[in-house]
Symmetry: C2
């Protein structure tokens, strides 16, 4: 999906919500656990229920890999279901991959060629040649970790160099030499709301994928106030607060209600064209 | 595998070689491509041929994931084959994972519980809570990226803070507050040979997993001169230079010869007890 297509989807659907498919077998409704493929069955219901209120879906690979081959089957089925039924939703594989050049190339083949996924989260620690193999696929995106939403983000991401530039800022600056805002987005956690002001000085037009709203406590209003651009420039993710909002047989219905609530907040916050 | 068991294996077998199972279908011998499961068939032959000369095997997940479900099946079969036939070899899953706490926990379950693998490479960018969920499994290891062997390591890993401390050094120092040298090793690339002198000042007793010998050009002598401890403290990886040394029907035999050459160099470099 190109940048223009993404912006158009946001405008048409009046939402920039991403639903995180962090599907944990221990948290899905009891009555689904006897299904043939409980993870896919849960995902399918959540996708159908929330698709009208979001522009993206983001399965986190950890939640699939932890079931080995069965998990990968559920992951691939989920991707295929999305591609066949919701071709205008952005699919982000949250995998946080990154390795030396020839190995990153293998990951790129996996996610962009074999699975034909739109976007992949990538870790920056290994530098340029660990990231660039993911670029150059038409309409595909690298979503580079810049400032994450977890407590551990304090450990290294804020380390300042001799000129006072924190590491996450160096990642933002340097990586923009590798890719345009049509190829690369950044992960910036919502729990650091005011930071968006600084980030927009460094990456004024890039799309930002924002986790940390909902269960992790970030404020949507603050993120929009400091981070939104004329093209929106934001994809805000919510996982647990939507997909596990209810554990009864009404789980999908309640997930839809929660997603719709967020969509309505987003509609009010989106700037007019 | 505990630290003591690892040291004992190194002493007994007079080697600290790790064979990297970066198995690329495009690089394996032509005659194997028609096998039922060419990747596993290749791995099995390489493992049987090189096991006498190494203490560890390190499959890189990228090379398996890129074939989706089939790749995961080959990966799991390889792990199972190793566990059943070579229980005294350390198995390192080179996955470079790392995510927010509850997600890292899922990866830990995948690699340490479900697959019962001995060690996992982990990326440090997201800090403490992305790493600690992998700790606390008896006899299991986190292998944290510190200084990698690729060109891109220059981009962020050498960034100095206000006190002149480069990022990789901060990663080494900080992470030793989270784990002992019985729980954590570090990836330190061989292409930065002289750097081992500095690294041993910061992590005097930790095991270091050293890629970059062979195809990437690092020097084994230099690594040992500056990086070896009384307990050896090194696991040196070689992938391409061993597993793709020959592409005829003699590939496994030639791989064994190459591994034996390295083992003999290592035997000469190992300090007497």
């Amino acid at each position: 999906m190109t940048r223009q297509e993404l912006i158009q989807q946001i405008r048409e659907k009046k939402t920039f919500l991403c639903v995180g498919l962090d599907t944990d077998i221990n948290k899905i409704p009891q009555h689904l656990k006897d299904a043939d493929d409980p993870i896919f069955t849960f995902n399918k219901a959540i996708i159908d229920a929330t698709a009208p209120y979001c522009v993206a879906f983001k399965p986190n690979l950890a939640f699939y890999e932890c079931y080995g081959v069965e998990g990968w089957i559920a992951f691939e089925k989920t991707i295929k279901y999305l591609q066949e039924n919701y071709p205008h939703h952005l699919i982000i594989a949250d995998a946080k991959r990154g390795d030396i050049g020839n190995t990153s190339k293998m990951y790129a083949r996996c996610f962009f060629e074999q699975l034909n996924i739109d976007a992949l989260t990538v870790a920056p620690y290994m530098g340029e040649d660990s990231v660039t193999p993911f670029l150059g696929y038409e309409g595909k995106w690298v979503v580079l970790l810049a400032l994450t939403s977890n407590k551990g983000s304090q450990d290294f991401q804020f380390t300042q160099d001799a000129d006072g530039m924190p590491l996450f800022e160096k990642v933002l600056r340097k990586s923009q030499e590798w890719a345009t805002d049509e190829q690369m987005m950044y992960v910036v956690g919502a729990t650091q709301g005011r930071m968006f002001e600084d980030i927009r000085k460094i990456a004024p037009t890039s799309f930002l994928l924002v986790p940390g709203i909902g269960a992790q406590g970030g404020s949507l209003e603050e993120v929009c106030k400091y981070g939104m651009t004329d093209d929106c420039g934001l994809i805000v993710n919510s996982s647990r607060a939507i997909i596990y909002a209810d554990s009864s047989e009404r789980f999908a219905e309640v997930a839809a209600e929660k997603a719709k609530e967020v969509q309505m907040q987003m509609e009010a916050l989106l700037r007019p064209l």
